[in-house]
């Protein structure tokens, strides 16, 4: 498959180089809010939405920074844009759907410190994607993040019924499961070559 094609960019971000399981981005929500399937799905949706919007903004900002020749402002301006996007999304959701706003709760503002979103903005700049490619890359990354979150949430719901030694309970067990999940995602490495 052509590595420049939009289809490849999507599959690459979603499966081959999954943001959580191959790049280790967004581990905090991956460990923190993956206890229940329902919250995991909603968190994934919110993150995907913020990713797509901030990726579009990052594309514009990069063009602007190149124009005024100030690359050292990249990091600072990206993080400000992400923080304000999250604030905007929060206000928008509150106004349009109070029910969804209540369901997401504290997770919404916490998206600001999700490194998957800043990582996405930095990677798309490094790879030199144009506007459409960035958009496809962002949606692939978002869907990949949701997929990983939902998979681990499903596994953890089952693990609640398993009898585990005290020593293993909690983060250690989640990490072991995540390791096995990451191993199985390596099977996608051959896709598109």
């Amino acid at each position: 498959m052509n590595t420049e094609s939009l289809g490849y960019i999507f599959i690459n971000a979603c499966l081959i180089n999954n943001f959580v399981l191959a790049y280790f981005l967004g581990i905090c929500p991956f460990l923190g809010v993956s206890g229940k399937m329902e919250t995991a799905t909603k968190m994934g949706g919110a993150v995907t939405f913020v990713m797509i919007i901030s990726s579009m903004c990052a594309d514009g900002i990069h063009a602007l920074l190149v124009a005024i020749n100030a690359p050292f402002l990249q990091l600072i301006s990206y993080i400000v844009v992400i923080a304000s996007t999250v604030q905007l999304v929060e206000m928008f959701v509150k106004k349009m759907s109070p029910a969804l706003f209540r369901a997401l709760g504290i997770f919404l503002p916490l998206i600001t410190t999700n490194c998957a979103i800043l990582g996405l903005a930095l990677f798309q700049t490094n790879k030199g994607y144009d506007f459409i490619e960035s958009l496809v890359y962002a949606s692939g990354a978002g869907i990949g993040f949701t997929l990983a979150l939902v998979l681990i949430a499903g596994l953890r719901e089952q693990l609640d019924f398993a009898e585990t030694p005290n020593m293993v309970k909690g983060t250690a067990l989640t990490l072991l499961v995540a390791g096995i999940l990451s191993l199985s995602f390596m099977g996608f490495a051959g896709l598109g070559s």
């Binding site: 581990i27 050292f72 990091l75 400000v80 410190t113 293993v168 990490l175 072991l176 990451s182």
Partner: protein
């Protein structure tokens, strides 16, 4: 009184230090409130750049620098930053120092900068730094904040180094690039791959849980 005695035996050789509150700010980050093994904060860089001991050490020291500088600035400005915009201001302060260390590492060693990749920039969203700014530096004096940052930063570096050391020994058969096994050693490729990061961290957590459990039952 009983509880105090129990605490003391649990802490072992840090016991005498605990009686001085000032040194305690420094010591707590190293073991009792270790950011990685106990608080499980800042996991992304811990897993991502711990494939060799050298990378892990560089990442840990870069984080220590940013943590120290941002703690100093946040605590000295703590009476001037309005409450409503404090998180945004903290992130801006952190982003500034991350930009400095990013260019600094690039100037010192291009190779190291390449192998750490985007993860230097991603120190900005390391929850450890923001949480220390919010939970400690914004409420305490500059001196205490410096001790807190040093303790937490060294604790973070120590944890990263533990991971990097194990992954490099088994994944590469070397320590700091120096071969430790004979030539016919078969490398465990999985240890350098992402899955190895998850497994190694899980194993370290198991070791620490085991020690903790032994102490509480003893």
């Amino acid at each position: 009184m009983e509880k105090e005695n129990k605490d003391r035996t649990e802490l072992g050789f840090f016991a005498s230090l605990k009686e001085h509150p000032t040194t305690d700010e420094f010591v707590k980050g190293l073991w009792r409130e270790n950011p990685v093994f106990v608080q499980v904060l800042g996991m992304c860089p811990v897993l991502a750049v711990s494939n060799t001991a050298e990378n892990a050490l560089a990442m840990g020291l870069a984080t220590l620098f940013v943590l120290l500088m941002s703690n100093i600035l946040v605590s000295s400005l703590r009476n001037f930053i309005p409450k409503q915009v404090r998180i945004a201001s903290y992130i801006l302060i952190i982003a500034t120092f991350v930009t400095i260390i990013d260019y600094g590492i690039q100037a010192i060693s291009v190779e190291l900068h390449k192998s750490l990749g985007a993860f230097i920039s991603l120190i900005v969203v390391n929850c450890l730094i923001l949480s220390r700014a919010e939970a400690f530096a914004s409420k305490n004096t500059v001196g205490k904040s410096i001790l807190d940052a040093l303790g937490m930063g060294l604790g973070f570096t120590f944890a990263l180094f533990c991971l990097g050391l194990v992954r490099e020994i088994f994944g590469n058969g070397s320590i700091f690039g120096v071969s430790v096994f004979s030539d016919n050693f078969q490398e465990w490729i999985i240890m350098i791959l992402p899955a190895g990061g998850f497994f190694t961290l899980a194993l370290w957590l198991l070791v620490f849980n085991y020690i903790k459990e032994k102490r509480t039952t003893a």
